[in-house]
C-alpha cells in the first residue's frame, strides 16, 4: 500500500475527531465573539451590534488595569517561587535515586498529595487555616512568639493566595522536572566527573541545559493556568479585600455572574483568550526548540 494512500486513510480515520473538536471549540468561541460585539443581556434574539464598544469600556476601566497588574504580580510571584522550589526538590529526589536511598517512593507520594486535592477543598482548607483568630497557622506562630498575622484581611492577602498556589502546584514542577531529569543518562555525569566537574558544574553545564525544554514547557503550562485561575482565590478572598486579589479572571467572574453584564464580560473573555493565545504560541515555539545533547 502506498504511503499516500496510508496517509489519506489515516486522515480519514481522525476526521470525525477533528470535526467534533472543531465544532465543540469553534461554536462557543464564535458565540463569545458575537456576544462581545453586541449588547442585549442573556437574550440571543434582541441583540444590537455595538462593535468594539464593549472592548473600549473594558480597556478604559481603571479596574481592568488594576486587575491586570494584580494578575502580573500573581503570575510572577507564583512562577518565581514554584520553579526553583520544584527544581530543588526534583534534584534532591534524583540524588536520592542515584544513592539508592529508601523511602524515595513515599516521598514522591507525599509531594504529590497537594496536586491531588480538589482546588475547592484547598481553598476552604487554607481559608480556615489562615483565619487570624482561630486558624492553626497563627496558633502555631503564637507558640513561637509571633503575633497574629492578618493573612487574608489586609496587605498580606495576595501573598497568602500565592503561598497556597505554591503549596498546591510546586508538585507539578517536581513531577515534570523529575521526569526530565530521569532522561539524562548516568554515563554523562560519570564522564563529567572523570573530567573533574563538581556537582554544581555538572548542574550548570549539563543538567540545566538538557532539561531546559522540559522546564520551558512546564513554566508555560503554569503561566496559562495562572492566567485562568479562580477557584482558590475566589474561595479564600473573593478577590478582596478591596481589590487586593482581584486578578482578571476574578474580575471576569464578577462581571458575568454578579453584575450579569454578559456584553462586557464576553469582551473581557476575548481579551483573556488573546493573552492566553500569546502564551500558547510561546509554548509551541519553546517546545519545538531546544538542544538535544543526548543524540548529539
Amino acid at each position: 500500500m502506498s504511503k499516500t494512500h496510508n496517509l489519506k486513510r489515516s486522515n480519514l480515520l481522525i476526521l470525525p475527531f477533528i470535526v467534533t473538536l472543531t465544532i465543540l471549540t469553534l461554536i462557543p468561541f464564535v458565540m463569545l465573539i458575537y456576544l462581545s460585539l453586541t449588547s442585549g443581556g442573556f437574550s440571543l434574539k434582541a441583540r444590537q451590534f455595538v462593535f468594539l464598544s464593549n472592548f473600549i469600556k473594558i480597556l478604559n476601566s481603571e479596574r481592568f488595569w488594576k486587575a491586570a497588574l494584580t494578575t502580573l504580580y500573581w503570575i510572577s510571584g507564583a512562577i518565581v517561587l514554584e520553579f526553583p522550589l520544584g527544581l530543588i526538590i526534583a534534584l534532591a529526589l534524583k540524588r536520592a535515586d542515584r544513592r539508592g536511598l529508601k523511602g524515595k517512593n513515599l516521598l514522591n507520594t507525599i509531594f504529590l498529595i497537594p496536586l491531588a486535592i480538589a482546588p475547592v477543598v484547598v481553598g476552604v482548607m487554607w481559608r480556615f487555616m489562615f483565619n487570624s483568630s482561630f486558624g492553626i497557622i497563627n496558633y502555631l506562630l503564637k507558640l513561637i512568639g509571633v503575633n497574629g498575622i492578618d493573612w487574608l484581611g489586609g496587605k498580606m492577602a495576595l501573598f497568602s493566595v500565592i503561598l497556597v498556589d505554591i503549596w498546591e502546584f510546586t508538585p507539578l514542577f517536581i513531577l515534570i522536572l523529575y521526569a526530565g531529569l530521569q532522561t539524562i543518562p548516568e554515563q554523562m555525569y560519570e564522564a563529567a566527573s572523570v573530567d573533574g566537574a563538581g556537582y554544581f558544574q555538572s548542574l550548570w553545564y549539563l543538567t540545566l541545559p538538557i532539561i531546559k525544554p522540559v522546564a520551558a514547557v512546564v513554566i508555560v503550562i503554569r503561566l496559562i493556568d495562572l492566567m485562568r485561575w479562580i477557584v482558590t482565590i475566589f474561595i479564600m478572598t473573593g478577590g478582596g479585600p478591596g481589590t487586593k486579589t482581584e486578578i482578571l479572571n476574578v474580575y471576569l467572574y464578577y462581571l458575568a455572574f454578579w453584575q450579569y453584564d454578559i456584553d462586557k464580560s464576553s469582551a473581557l473573555a476575548i481579551v483573556l483568550i488573546i493573552i492566553s493565545a500569546i502564551y500558547a504560541y510561546i509554548f509551541a515555539r519553546l517546545s519545538t526548540k531546544g538542544t538535544n545533547i543526548i543524540s548529539g
Partner: protein
C-alpha cells in the same frame, strides 16, 4: 281532520318530551364529566430548583406527599445558591423553559420582573386553585408579603406579588447577655452606644472576647452588613426612590457611615475584614465575640446545642440607628426584611403554571411551614404568624418581632440594576475598611459609578 290534529298534538308532545329528556340527560352527563374529570394540572411534571437553606431538606423530603396528593410530578434540583441564581436567570431570560419554579430573591427578581420572565401571582391568589386552609393568606407576616411585592415605579406593571415567601428574615442586634451584665451595659438603640459597648467589651475582654463582628467578605455579604449602618445614619442611595433615582452618595452621611464602619473594625477580631458568614457564626457561637448586627436567623446556630457554646446567652433587639434620628426618619427603615420566595416561569404552558402554583402554595402553606417550624428546621425565620405561635417561647422570636417593625421591603433597593450597583458598593466598602481607599474618594467614586450605571440603564 280530527285525527290529523290529534296526531300533530301527539307529535308535539313527544317532541317536547324528547327535548326535556335530552336536556336532563345532557345535564347529567355534564355533571358526571365534571365530577370525574381530572384537574387540568394533574399528570403534569414540573421542574423546581432550590438551594440548601434552612428547611429545604425537610421540604424536599415531603415532596412525595405533594406528588401523591395532587398527581403532579416534581423534579427537584438542589444547587448552590449562586449556581441556582445563574441557572434561573439563564433559563428564564434565555426562554429555554427548563425550569418551571425557582427560589428567587431580591437579587434577581427585579430583573426577572423587568424581562417579563416570571408570573405575577395576584390572579392566581384569587382563583379556584387557592385552597384557603393551605394558603391562609392572612397568616403570612405582612412584612413577608411586602418583601415579595415590587414597586411599579421602577419595574414593569403594577405593584404585584411576584412570589410566595418561603423564608422571611430580618436584621437585628444580637448580644451576649452575660457580657452585658458583667459590664452593666444597656441594649444599644444608637450606633454610638453600639460602638461604645464594643469598645468597653474589647478593652475588658480581648483577646478572649471581641466587641463586635461584621460580615465583610467582598460579596453581597458586606452589603448586608454595611447597609444597616448606611441606612441607620439616614443614608439614601437615591434622591427619591423609587421615582427619582439620581444617586445621593457623595455627601457627609455616606462619609460618616463609611468612616463608622471602618473604625468599628478596631473592636473586631483581627483579620475579620474578610470574614464571611461562616467565620462570623463560628466566632459568635464560640463566644469569641459579644455582639453583632446581622440576620437574626443566626439564632438557628447560636441556640443550637450541637453548634454553639453560648446557647441561651443571647439577647435579640432591633438594629440601632444614629443618635438624633428616629426610626420614622430613616427612609425605608434601617433593617432589611428579605424573603426567599418561590416564583413561576412566565413562559411555560398554562397547565404547568397551574401545577407550579399548586406546588408553591403547598411549599409555603400554613401546615407545611408550621410542621417545619415545629421540627426546628425554620428557627430564625418567621414567615407566618402560625410559626410564631409554635416558637414564641424562644428568645429570638421576641427580638424578631421587635426588629421586623423597623425593617422594610425597600431597605435594599428593588431595582434590576441593583446587582451591578451592589457589586460596585461591595468593592468600594471593602477597599475603605482595609485602607485601600479613603472615605472621601470612595464616596465620590460611588456617586460617579452609580450615576454611570443608572444612565446606561436609562433610569436617569
Amino acid at each position: 281532520m280530527k285525527s290529523k290534529e290529534t296526531n300533530k298534538r301527539r307529535l308535539l308532545m313527544k317532541s317536547k318530551a324528547l327535548l326535556y329528556c335530552l336536556v336532563v340527560l345532557s345535564f347529567l352527563v355534564l355533571l358526571t364529566i365534571a365530577a370525574v374529570a381530572e384537574e387540568a394540572y394533574e399528570g403534569q411534571t414540573i421542574h423546581v430548583v432550590g438551594f440548601r437553606i434552612a428547611g429545604m431538606d425537610e421540604l424536599m423530603a415531603k415532596v412525595p406527599e405533594f406528588e401523591k396528593k395532587y398527581n403532579i410530578n416534581v423534579e427537584f434540583d438542589m444547587l448552590s445558591m449562586e449556581a441556582m441564581r445563574q441557572k434561573m436567570r439563564m433559563d428564564f431570560e434565555g426562554n429555554t423553559k427548563k425550569i418551571d419554579v425557582g427560589l428567587s430573591s431580591i437579587h434577581i427578581t427585579p430583573t426577572l420582573i423587568e424581562g417579563n420572565n416570571i408570573l405575577p401571582l395576584n390572579d392566581f391568589l384569587e382563583s379556584d386553585l387557592v385552597e384557603p386552609e393551605l394558603l391562609a393568606f392572612d397568616d403570612y407576616f405582612p412584612a413577608a408579603i411586602d418583601a415579595v411585592t415590587y414597586p411599579s415605579e421602577v419595574l414593569s406593571g403594577e405593584d404585584k406579588i411576584w412570589g410566595l415567601p418561603f423564608h422571611f428574615e430580618v436584621q437585628g442586634l444580637m448580644y451576649r447577655k452575660s457580657v452585658y451584665e458583667k459590664y452593666n451595659l444597656k441594649v444599644p438603640t444608637t450606633w454610638e452606644e453600639y460602638i461604645e459597648n464594643a469598645k468597653i467589651i474589647y478593652e475588658g475582654e480581648a483577646p478572649d472576647i471581641y466587641g463586635l463582628v461584621w460580615r465583610s467578605l467582598r460579596s453581597p455579604q458586606i452589603i448586608w452588613a454595611f447597609n444597616q449602618v448606611f441606612r441607620g445614619f439616614g443614608g439614601k442611595y437615591f434622591a427619591n426612590y423609587p421615582t427619582d433615582l439620581h444617586p445621593t452618595l457623595d455627601n457627609e452621611t455616606t462619609r460618616a457611615a463609611l468612616q463608622y464602619f471602618k473604625d468599628s473594625f478596631d473592636y473586631a477580631p483581627p483579620g475579620s475584614r474578610s470574614w464571611a458568614y461562616t467565620e462570623v457564626i463560628t466566632a459568635l457561637s464560640d463566644g469569641a465575640v459579644a455582639q453583632s448586627c446581622d440576620d437574626l436567623m443566626y439564632a438557628r446556630y447560636l441556640e443550637d446545642h450541637e453548634t454553639s457554646k453560648t446557647v441561651g446567652d443571647w439577647g435579640y433587639a432591633p438594629i440601632p440607628i444614629k443618635s438624633g434620628l428616629d426610626y420614622d426618619d430613616i427612609a425605608f427603615g434601617p433593617a432589611i426584611g428579605a424573603a426567599e420566595h418561590w416564583v413561576i416561569n412566565a413562559d411555560i404552558s398554562d397547565v404547568k403554571k397551574q401545577a407550579a402554583f399548586k406546588f408553591i402554595q403547598w411549599a409555603t402553606s400554613k401546615p407545611v411551614l408550621s410542621e417545619l417550624a415545629a421540627s426546628g428546621a425554620m428557627r430564625g425565620f418567621l414567615t407566618r404568624t402560625s410559626m410564631y405561635e409554635i416558637q414564641k417561647d424562644e428568645e429570638w422570636v421576641k427580638g424578631f418581632l421587635e426588629a421586623q417593625k423597623h425593617s422594610s421591603k425597600l431597605a435594599r433597593p428593588k431595582l434590576p440594576e441593583w446587582v451591578k450597583l451592589s457589586e460596585v458598593l461591595s468593592t468600594k466598602v471593602s477597599q475603605v475598611i482595609i485602607g485601600e481607599k479613603e472615605v472621601n474618594d470612595a464616596a465620590k467614586e460611588l456617586q460617579k459609578e452609580f450615576t454611570t450605571i443608572l444612565e446606561e440603564a436609562g433610569r436617569i
